[in-house]
Subunit: 350 residues, 4 copies
Amino acid sequence: MTAPLNVAILGASGYTGSELVRLLLRHPRVAIRALTADRKAGQSMADVFPQFYGLDLPKLVTIAEVDLDAVDLVFCALPHGTTQTVIADLFARKPSLKVVDLSADFRLQDPAAYAEWYGHAHQALKLQEEAAFGLVELNREAIRAARLVANPGCHSTTSILPLVPLLRAGQIDPDGIVVVSATGMSGAGRAAKEEMLFSEVSEGTHAYGVGRHRHTAELDQEFDRAAGKPARATFTPLLLPQNRGIYATITVTLAGGATAEDLHATLAKTYGGEPFVSVLPFGRAPQSRHVRGSNRVQLGVAPDRRPDRAIVLSTLDNLVKGASGQAVQNMNLVAGFDETEGLGQLALFP
Amino acid sequence: MTAPLNVAILGASGYTGSELVRLLLRHPRVAIRALTADRKAGQSMADVFPQFYGLDLPKLVTIAEVDLDAVDLVFCALPHGTTQTVIADLFARKPSLKVVDLSADFRLQDPAAYAEWYGHAHQALKLQEEAAFGLVELNREAIRAARLVANPGCHSTTSILPLVPLLRAGQIDPDGIVVVSATGMSGAGRAAKEEMLFSEVSEGTHAYGVGRHRHTAELDQEFDRAAGKPARATFTPLLLPQNRGIYATITVTLAGGATAEDLHATLAKTYGGEPFVSVLPFGRAPQSRHVRGSNRVQLGVAPDRRPDRAIVLSTLDNLVKGASGQAVQNMNLVAGFDETEGLGQLALFP
Amino acid sequence: MTAPLNVAILGASGYTGSELVRLLLRHPRVAIRALTADRKAGQSMADVFPQFYGLDLPKLVTIAEVDLDAVDLVFCALPHGTTQTVIADLFARKPSLKVVDLSADFRLQDPAAYAEWYGHAHQALKLQEEAAFGLVELNREAIRAARLVANPGCHSTTSILPLVPLLRAGQIDPDGIVVVSATGMSGAGRAAKEEMLFSEVSEGTHAYGVGRHRHTAELDQEFDRAAGKPARATFTPLLLPQNRGIYATITVTLAGGATAEDLHATLAKTYGGEPFVSVLPFGRAPQSRHVRGSNRVQLGVAPDRRPDRAIVLSTLDNLVKGASGQAVQNMNLVAGFDETEGLGQLALFP
Amino acid sequence: MTAPLNVAILGASGYTGSELVRLLLRHPRVAIRALTADRKAGQSMADVFPQFYGLDLPKLVTIAEVDLDAVDLVFCALPHGTTQTVIADLFARKPSLKVVDLSADFRLQDPAAYAEWYGHAHQALKLQEEAAFGLVELNREAIRAARLVANPGCHSTTSILPLVPLLRAGQIDPDGIVVVSATGMSGAGRAAKEEMLFSEVSEGTHAYGVGRHRHTAELDQEFDRAAGKPARATFTPLLLPQNRGIYATITVTLAGGATAEDLHATLAKTYGGEPFVSVLPFGRAPQSRHVRGSNRVQLGVAPDRRPDRAIVLSTLDNLVKGASGQAVQNMNLVAGFDETEGLGQLALFP
């Protein structure tokens, strides 16, 4: 057996961090060498996430304490904004390092778009240019060659996967896309905020970030590229009273004479060989619970009663394919492993 | 004190039936004279709904056992389809009766539309013509004069209330409406079906009836009338893991030079004096939990980053303003009571 | 019509505060004159609790800003510990004031017990002696005469109501009581803490404060009095993934030759005339959802397969009968109103 | 590589059936040869459980259609009562078969106890005598040698695991055990019943089967054996508004001079080398969400404020260690595999 890939997880006390630990502990070719959590440094991972009681894991340390010599690849699960300087510093210390970044910092390739959506100039422009957009099914070759992979947003992955093939095929109008993307609470992270309390979130639903959610910028970037012209979707996120799952209800205007059946055929053909994408039979609606805990995406296409529109439905687990699972998938590509390694776990339903 | 209005509730063993009992037991001018539930006839209401232990209520009987002489007004909370013959029979027995019907049977005024959406000819065409559409805020005068009121659907009420004023004002394009209407489970009723089990519904979300939900026909009827021309919205319902609450995320295309702010102003003006409709400050998103258990609707308008579109958000409790609360509001009008009587209960949050 | 009772609510930005507002806004004999929330002073109540949009309420102010001359009765919904000095100060400013305190500060009448369970000496010993324990069904006369009422804890109310009559009757062994009291999250308040986040609480259950929850002291006080000797129950609280509802599963050892049926008879007799307590038929288990949002308690008694034990079940809504509803009930007694005034609202189920 | 173990799952359309499929599809030494579901025969597994879209699985057939020649081991996930004749018939057709039964039919070894708790004489007395009680950690050697393993009940596993070592050690009084065992809904199965609807179960809690739940008989059998004399616990099950997880709150009376710390030491020692049982640090309460989806049990011991009692807490996932996971663990023993094979999946939290 060959030596394992040695990884560190920066930001292990959040949900994407713990989800990386869950997946990597069972990955046959990986060894977890370091876990960081600045404010909880010194604690054991089992103190912070009791599901890990009885498992062998490194103690939580600060980023400064990580011995980069012992690490081949770093997962960054840190807040947006600070990540770019942390990663620039990592590469300065060890240029041969591989990094999979789960923050938003390197997803937008256009510095102007970054500045517009994030309100400040990017602090690591060269790395921004270098980073590969880590939506595996659409960008596999670039990811394989990359030193830095920008794991896409959870809402973004959910909508980009079904829409890019349809835009490329000219089957939908780039100007007629309406996305309502409903997400479970775990996507909001583990910071203690009043609006995230159980009593504020359970037994109810609401829209948030209406008209200005930052994942919209990722849609723009990928939709423009696929359509070959500006494609400005309307994107409204909802918050659901559930832990996991993103569910995108996408209304599209048909183009080029395509029917809803044609859209279905395009998606079925595009993703027919993909290990993590299932296209359901025409007319059938996926359910977020049927991908819970797995790295799988389920897609559906249904006709509208209006012949000029169709409904595209897409669902995934925001912490797996929408974050840590896709990050492991990216790691597998970067490290030259089989892409599905360590990601075989099936959905937990009910 | 004057004599109370004597009412019967047909179909008291379902959730809209029990919700009528909850509201009417505390209504100062109503006496509940009869409760029916064909399959549970003979049981007490507290056996079927234990929240009523210790309260004085008539036993459940069959419809045939109801003494119409002792009843002034009947609430029909029966399944779609059979209701039309039940009500025709009631009026045959007692023409002076008043009826508030919570089923879909009398909502569509066009016999052709009914036949198209429900798959069979209407069995009580004269009554269909006579029935008033019971969306109170938009049809008050007709309801006051009616003998038969067709309580609108829960999804329908949620979307018609915000969109009709905007269509009337010519501020939105009748051809550019996309509704995603998410509902809690109680709207599906109390019939024992596998897909309604807790384990099938909790911790997940999915679309249902995509492209063909029957409430669409109610939208068509009211939108056409308001727009003065065909207005065919795309309507996709979602099922949420919560008991109560409908949340409509409505993407509209602006028309006539209107801005999102203009839409907000129109709604604020239209509903400024309404006791049960609140228009939130511009840009603010309502939450379904903030209307739970009350007869209130909360509306919001927010700008999209696309200047030609806006987001309209609407929420209500599907069992109250979406069903039994609005039915009581209709009863109040029909009986000449103050419209808010018995409906003062505020939202239960958390 | 006589002048309304003028009330102030100190601590209106928490859940017991908003629940007081919900109930008092519909109370026919009360006017809300002041609402305080030190950290949110200056905001409107609708900013803090959007369910109140469109309703007429005073702005949030600091406690210092409240004009006591305009107030007859104060509800204190402030944190434990600080409350005692706040109330002492209120009485110093206006001795004729009435106060219903929802904190734990005045519930324990024995200064030593207070010091033991709360870790410091009481700061207002005279008031502690003066305060009436506000468990209405068991202490009505003392409450009517009181200037200061200590509203009991939510867990305490749930267990004291069924057990005190049984202890008084000598039908259960004071030394053989085991209480497992499961509560919804709203009882934990609205402070932003990691362990109260939706993702930390939903889809799971756990015990907390095992062997040392402070409500145990209230059980001791009332059980000792009822038994006429020390009665030390074992009390374990659980946290449930639901907003509202306490559900106590109480295992008792029978005494004095009593059977489970005898226990049921005692409770049925004790509470037969009570407006807010229902004793279900023998053997029937109550459900917390059937009292949600109401001021009602449902009690059940069932036999164990061991003839020397029985199971007593008790449930209430922790924010209503377990806090704000009982506080209004106490206010009604203090003010000389009908005890049920403003508390007629029935349970919201589903 | 050696030939895989060929298995059939009888009753694949229920939750324990789908959970077996989830686990066995990823088991490196097993091939699923047949899936039965009498009423859904002819459908694909993905029609019945859409989480399996895109995976290669046999179609659902009737039991009669299963080719036993191609099968080494059968999992029985059928209803109680009918299972005993089904299994007797299987052994009649193929005596060399191995069977892991998830029903209650072979758990009680005493025919009189079976008749008492299930209301009729056992129909396969010889097999009843032959069956091994499949609580792995306590009965490993017998299971390894068995042809028929009776997988224990979910509630039973949760309470037997912590209590048997304590009874054996004489550290707790066999006459002083009170168990309150709260379970998620998935334990109730997938049959469509009114009381299992989302709206009947969410946002609330209640006791069921009080004083007479059949898992009590399994406790009696194992506790008697461990204590060497009759040990009659009081056992009250609660139903929680969550999918998965059993949480037992066990109040024990200390014996033989033992303290709560001693109990903790006994459990830590007993289970120190077990791959699926974690004993948390003294005083720490486990949470059901921290074992969700895994085969793990978490145990806790905390002192009561009464020196003669202690609180033992035990939690597991009712569908995994409480049913299908333990069934796979039993299969591993019967087949001579490593006991942990295919059961490595960690808990899904949040």
